[in-house]
């Protein structure tokens, strides 16, 4: 067994274990979102398992490129052969089919926008009222109460 196959096998086994499926039902051609039905949270859990299994850390930007199981295998080959973590060159899908080829991390990345970046404004305003506005409202009330 070549080193390449070994990585593919380990990855397939990790995915199978995480999804509680038989390893034979996981192929490099499977899309994570469409075929394996991973939602964004499942995908993050899967990345945890992969990071533990291969003892590396996968930056969020790199995850964006994962559409198929094969993309992850290719990525792991590159990383394990010493290539540093960097935005993975996107493998152009042969035919552009909207849903199944959507990177599974698209929504995950959106959900992760809890760090205060300008883009995060939407996600934040949904989660909690803007602290400034709340403080503004609360102030005069408190002042009145003291008076």
């Amino acid at each position: 067994m070549t080193a390449n196959n070994d990585v593919a096998e380990r990855l397939r086994a990790t995915v199978a274990k995480e999804l509680k499926q038989d390893v034979s039902s996981i192929t490099p051609e499977h899309t994570l979102r469409g075929d394996l039905k991973l939602n964004s949270l499942d995908a993050i859990e899967l990345m945890f398992r992969i990071e533990e299994e291969f003892d590396l850390s996968i930056p969020d930007d790199d995850m964006q490129g994962f559409v198929k199981v094969g993309d992850v295998i290719d990525y792991l080959h590159r990383r394990l052969s010493g290539e540093p973590a960097a935005p993975a060159p996107k493998t152009a899908p042969p035919v552009a089919v909207a849903a199944p080829t959507t990177p599974v991390f698209k929504t995950a990345a959106a959900a992760q926008r809890v760090t205060p970046t300008p883009k995060a404004a939407d996600a934040q305003s949904r989660a909690t009222p803007a602290p400034k506005a709340a403080a503004k409202k609360a102030k005069p009330k408190a002042a009145r109460r003291r008076a």
Binding site: L19, K20, Q21, L41, D42, I44, E45, F48, A108
Partner: protein, 417 residues
């Protein structure tokens, strides 16, 4: 007053069975679902004041849910999803024939995702890996988590909210569903009360609060004994109850089977004490009276009370005092039973499971027994309490649910004919 509201579907996950048929059969047979607490890793069980629980023992999440839901969702959400699906199937509600925005979901959740909360907190401090905390933790720990899951599972796009009033959450959820339908906010509401908090921390904390039974640790099946002289606290249970409520015209239009009518509801606060009810039962009586008025009926019409009766010394006594105060002479005629005698206190599921037991009693003309009622406590003795099933054609029934935080709720269910 708006449209009449009826119950057209039921679902349950309980310590005496998953599925209404199994639950009801066991309840009538006087089965106890109380067992010894399972081991909590290396925690010293002997240091727990109460070591008996109403655990759902035969529940295999993988048998009901897909693999990731079975693995990742909090146990209370799993119970809730399973009960909701049974109720929807039972009601023969076909979502593809409904206007999605007219089908709402109202959940009663008291403790929420306690199982997951304790597990993740413990793991974080033991493993010291903040970058490995379950990404699903936040959407699970928000109290409205189960409501969202049910809506997504069934495509219910109507009003979706969660009521959190501790042990009365489930009853309040039914009451609010009644009001949502009356006010034409929705035609159908999927109501679920769910709790799964038999965790190392929660069992310990209810114990130190002196709320739990501790005298029957070696005889778990005898521990939950409402109205009995030997009662010494409630038994922590878990489970879920689900009901499909819909407007009478909607149910008729789709020729749904109608179990009973939800005719009245009242919600009050005693504004008294966080964990103890007011001694004279006047507040409970007032709540029941308001629910009866809302149902346009009166104390002399009441046939059955599904009591809150958790098996605490004070609570059971005060509730009976409240019933006597309200029903006067009728108090000696009504049947009364405590569902918690069989399943323990399922917290926010309790109001829904009590309503299901009441619905089944209305349907089958028999009231389930209050098990372990062996030595009636003179303080809460009434002729309608029995350790055996009692036959009666019930037209009007009260369902009580009282909760920590000084809050009370009562529902009125009526036979539909």
């Amino acid at each position: 007053m708006g449209k009449r509201v009826v119950i057209t579907g039921l679902g349950v996950v309980s310590p005496i069975g998953t599925g209404v048929a199994e639950f009801w059969k066991a309840a009538l047979a006087g089965t106890s679902g109380i067992s010894a607490v399972p081991p909590f890793d290396s925690l010293p069980l002997e240091a727990y004041r109460s070591r008996v629980v109403g655990r759902v023992r035969d529940f295999d999440p993988a048998a009901h849910l897909d693999a990731t839901q079975a693995e990742r969702l909090d146990r209370h959400a799993q119970f809730g999803l399973v009960a909701a699906r049974e109720a929807i199937d039972d009601s023969a509600l076909k979502m593809d024939r409904e206007v999605p925005h007219r089908v709402g979901v109202i959940v009663g959740a008291g403790m929420g995702a306690m199982t997951m909360a304790e597990r993740e907190l413990t793991r974080l401090y033991l493993e010291l890996k903040p970058n490995r905390v379950a990404p699903g933790f936040i959407p699970a720990i928000t109290m409205n988590s189960l409501g969202g899951l049910i809506a997504i599972a069934h495509g219910a796009k109507g009003p979706n909210y969660t009521i959190s009033t501790a042990c009365s959450s489930g009853a309040h959820a039914i009451g609010q569903a009644l009001r949502s339908i009356r006010s034409a906010q929705a035609d159908v509401v999927i109501v679920v009360g769910a709790d799964a908090s038999i965790t190392p921390l929660v069992l310990a904390a209810f114990g130190t609060l002196r709320a739990l039974s501790q005298r029957y640790n070696d005889e778990p099946e005898r521990a939950s004994r409402p109205f009995d002289r030997g009662r010494d606290g409630f038994v922590l249970g878990e489970g879920a109850g689900a009901l499909i409520l819909e407007s009478l015209p909607h149910a008729r239009k789709r020729r749904a089977k109608i179990y009973a009518e939800v005719a009245g509801y009242a919600a009050t606060s005693e504004a008294y004490n966080m964990v103890i009810p007011q001694e004279d039962g006047a507040e409970m009586a007032a709540t029941m009276a308001m629910a009866l008025r809302d149902a346009r009926t009166a104390p002399p019409q009441v046939d059955y009370v599904n009591a809150h009766a958790t098996s605490t010394v004070r609570g059971d006594e005060v509730e009976i005092r409240g019933i006597r105060r309200l029903l006067k002479a009728r108090a000696n005629k009504v049947l009364i039973s405590a569902t918690k005698s069989s399943i323990g206190h399922t917290l926010s599921a309790a109001g829904c499971i009590g309503a299901i037991a009441t619905t089944m009693a209305i349907q089958s003309h028999v009231v389930h027994p209050t098990i372990n009622y062996e030595d009636p406590d003179p303080e809460c003795r009434l002729p309608g309490i029995a350790a055996q099933p009692q036959e009666r054609r019930i037209k009007v029934a009260l369902v009580n649910a009282f909760g920590f935080g000084s809050n009370n709720s009562s529902l009125v269910l009526k036979r539909y004919d």
